[in-house]
Assembly symmetry: D2
Homo-oligomer: 144 residues x 4
């Protein structure tokens, strides 16, 4: 199961080349991720992540340029690994309105580490967090 | 008649004080404004504004702090003056979900000038643009 | 006496019109303001503002467009009013490298309110803060 | 030889966790990259890149959190591969003021593709561009 987030494109996300700037795709990923991990059921079931989780690594491959439009784009997020103190999410960003068919804008992954901001250090993933992340598990066969 | 735009709040819009940063409200205004002037019927009826319009002036009064949440906020936009080569928009930004009743987050205005980017200078407002802006006219009695 | 901040322009500050976006000027003002109020001598003499100060109002008039360049722009900041629980700063943003002479990019003002984030409410300006702000006082004859 | 860029940290680069947000590091990389490829000698010797170059891929590993401070951070950039129609840059971002010694904040790489915006397609790297990129060549033994 994938978490799908509809992300608004802001006009100012475009740069002087007239396309959404490469940096902004990480903002889109962040919005999809916070939508999955900080809001809705997550806010209820795994309330500690919103108190502290840090990004350890990102990878992204850009497939198509994007221009501003009033309709949101779609960002899929799912889990590929859950270790004891880190987990990996993958993303697919799509222009679902492209003709004749939807196109992939970018594919990406993020390694995240739950963090105890008060203690100033990483912490282990809780059982509830593991169970929540496993709902969206789609193991990744492609070696990196 | 007011144009109402539902604007997503991005998690990263918050600053180190844990509130949406004051700068970001101008991004929300920009999104509401481009939603009104660059998209939908505007894209069809007044296609030249998207080719160039510059901000001459902004004023804003902040009323309440805003924290990130998954639901969009509401931004109303309407016209208060249309001169020969500039026009003024007003905005009301609201947390429509606040309890026990909606609250105003900020009120603002922008003076805009249609701009011919190729010629590098301001241009007059066309008849079609004037008619479009008049749809949203709500003259402002309060002198500033 | 004015506080002068040299502010880097980021390439991504430009929007699809090829100019620094209007929203970004408020980021420049924020950097000049934090340079004045949160860093250097301010960090030593008035350490409480960095713990909480909110923007109540902004006004800005844009004078010239700005394009990305590797050299910073100059932002002057000074105080025009200090009341019991708020104060007003003015700004002049300049392209000091423009030929044949420097040009003003924008002029602006901000009304700021010291804020007790823990208590969740505004607080009065301290004696030390008043003295610090008075160093940069340049009263404004033009009523607004 | 590495290109070293001193990048200002903006107060608003921090998010609600009180650290510079992960997304912003890509803005720092972009500034270092544009400083290397669009400004100074590059503006003179390889004037076509600023007319169009797109990011095909990014990787980043975050090492340490960063808080706002008035002093810039240091970003090193260098070339690791130059192919016929793409090239790879690596980055090291450092807090050069950390005590007792400088610390690495993040390490990253970007694959870039020169792009003909008018034709809407990638183009080959010119001789002048190859020579320029080779000045900063530091081949990478770690295959990826």
């Amino acid at each position: 199961m994938r978490f799908t987030f509809r992300c608004q494109v802001r006009w100012d996300d475009m740069d002087a080349f007239g396309h959404v700037n490469n940096v902004t795709f990480f903002a889109y990923m962040q919005e999809a991720r916070t939508g999955m991990l900080f809001a809705g059921e997550a806010a209820e079931h795994i309330p500690d992540l919103i108190k502290g989780v840090v990004v350890a690594r990102h990878e992204i491959d850009y497939r198509r340029p994007l221009e501003w439009r009033p309709e949101p784009i779609e960002v899929d997020v799912w889990t590929t690994h859950v270790k004891s103190a880190s987990f990996t999410l993958r993303y697919e960003m799509r222009d679902q309105l492209a003709k004749p068919k939807p196109v992939v804008l970018a594919q990406a992954l993020t390694v995240l580490v739950p963090f105890d901001l008060d203690a100033g250090r990483p912490r282990r993933i809780s059982h509830a967090e593991r169970a929540f992340l496993h709902r969206y598990l789609e193991p990744d066969d492609l070696s990196r």
